[in-house]
Symmetry: C2
Subunit: 285 residues, 2 copies
């Protein structure tokens, strides 16, 4: 049963309209648009959604065993501490791990750098029936190089169109592409980085390099705005999910996945064998 | 906190002693050795174990970010319906999917057949810090070919030693290898296959070929006994887990993993940066 969202499809609320300019200043990272009404309701709602999502995943997987080629890819992007890892843990945790392919992209290796930037992404795509989740993605290749001026501008500008073609082909081949920008505020990032410093068990998640990137906040924000406005397409929409409140973030991502999986409407395939004959053989021995 | 097992390490109870002959007729698939005392206690115990396992996994992963090369590989084998998939769902479901690499091995593809049988297995191994789970494995290559007489006997007999060398190298490189044979009875298999036939939503899990394999029950059993007795080593022990009761199966596999992860004792790494300086920089801007 879908969670109530006051009659509004959450996807309509959070989607970046294709072709329109994006100003992240107009999106409050602390807001809870379409939310179920507070933390307790969101936690309960997310728990209920988990069971529904797992059921849809099983149908999607089952259908793939009889030729259904469809899959779903969730792309997670966002500033440091925006909760990409937490979303994987809490939302992907709803799925059967056997059908869920999680890939975290880090700085490209020497081997990856020798290939076009989409190469390593293509190798990590979900197979038919699978849910794929990217923690960072090919969008890093229009973010980091732009902020650090690593690639000639014409090459960089060409990548957006490469990405749109790539994602359009994915969609044509049966992959539902759901792209989520986890939108965190600068103050909330400060609080989360301080929390990591305060807890020795979280020091492994911290690097002084995070502070250098934080100092480029405005440049990253601009790079994200460009990526969102140039690459939110009908084939592969971007959603801006306010992420200062973890309980809203998890609920919203789960709800977005639910909407897309319900549209896909995967079904258990019919058996192609004689049930009665098989039953008789089983009973006989 | 470890679950009580009447003072006995479950690993001692279920391990196949290296070098000893194996007679599966002496293992009751309906038994619950070392169990926590009934279904309700096992379900509660498994739920408690899940949180502990997730915590150990996070430490293992965290340690890998600072050079710890260790990982864990769970190999699941068993007859059809013995619960390999269910174990993945319920036990692997405890882990953060970001650090859990699940691989189901099916009949080898044309490309896989062109390589030595260990090739596809080597490509699916967990990376440092990861938990890998194999639903079927390289052991299929000493089971199916033996039962169906597909490979010359001397070649087949050589594979056990190849496997032992392979697993020994894995262990030397830091991978803890935990091999679990899910031991189901022939009557319980009949009941589970009938249940699949009775539920149209489960027909996708059924194939008439399952009945042909079931007819070779004794041959498979003998092939499993050989694999268990030739390949249970100190470096990579086999465990026989009675699997007629799903609640015991899940509890026992979780408990075995806990034992091994506790022995590994992964730790959060210390930060290699100046905490106070970073805190000051964060507060400043």
């Amino acid at each position: 049963m879908p969670e109530p969202t006051n009659g509004t499809d959450l996807r309509e609320l959070l989607r970046v309209p294709p072709g329109e300019p994006v100003d992240l200043g107009r999106h409050d990272p602390g807001a809870t648009p379409g939310g179920p009404g507070g933390k307790a309701a969101a936690l309960a709602g997310t728990a209920r959604l988990a069971a529904t999502l797992a059921g849809l995943q099983e149908r999607l997987y089952a259908a793939s065993t009889r030729g259904d080629r469809r899959s779903l890819l969730l792309v997670l992007q966002g500033m440091d501490t925006s909760g990409k890892g937490g979303t994987v843990k809490h939302v992907a945790g709803a799925f059967n791990p056997a059908g869920c392919r999680v890939k975290a992209f880090r700085a490209p290796t020497v081997r990856e750098q020798a290939h076009p930037f989409l190469w390593r992404v293509a190798r990590a795509l979900p197979l038919p029936g699978e849910i794929g989740i990217f923690d960072r993605s090919h969008y890093e290749d229009v973010l980091v190089p732009r902020v650090h001026d690593l690639v000639p501008r014409p090459v960089l500008d060409g990548r957006y169109e490469e990405i749109n073609r790539f994602e359009r082909t994915l969609a044509d081949e049966g992959t539902t592409v759901v792209k989520v920008f986890l939108h965190i505020g600068r103050e909330e990032q400060r609080a989360r980085l301080l929390a990591r410093l305060d807890d020795p068990d979280k020091h492994w998640k911290f690097s002084p390099a995070d502070l250098a990137e934080r100092a480029r906040w405005a440049a990253y924000r601009k790079a994200y705005e460009l990526a969102l406005e140039r690459c939110s397409t009908d084939a592969a929409p971007w959603y801006v999910v306010p992420a200062d409140r973890k309980w809203y973030r998890n609920w919203a991502v789960a709800r977005l996945l639910l909407g897309h999986l319900e549209d896909m409407a995967p079904r258990y395939p019919e058996g192609d064998f004689d049930v009665e004959e098989c039953r008789a053989r089983l009973i006989a021995r």
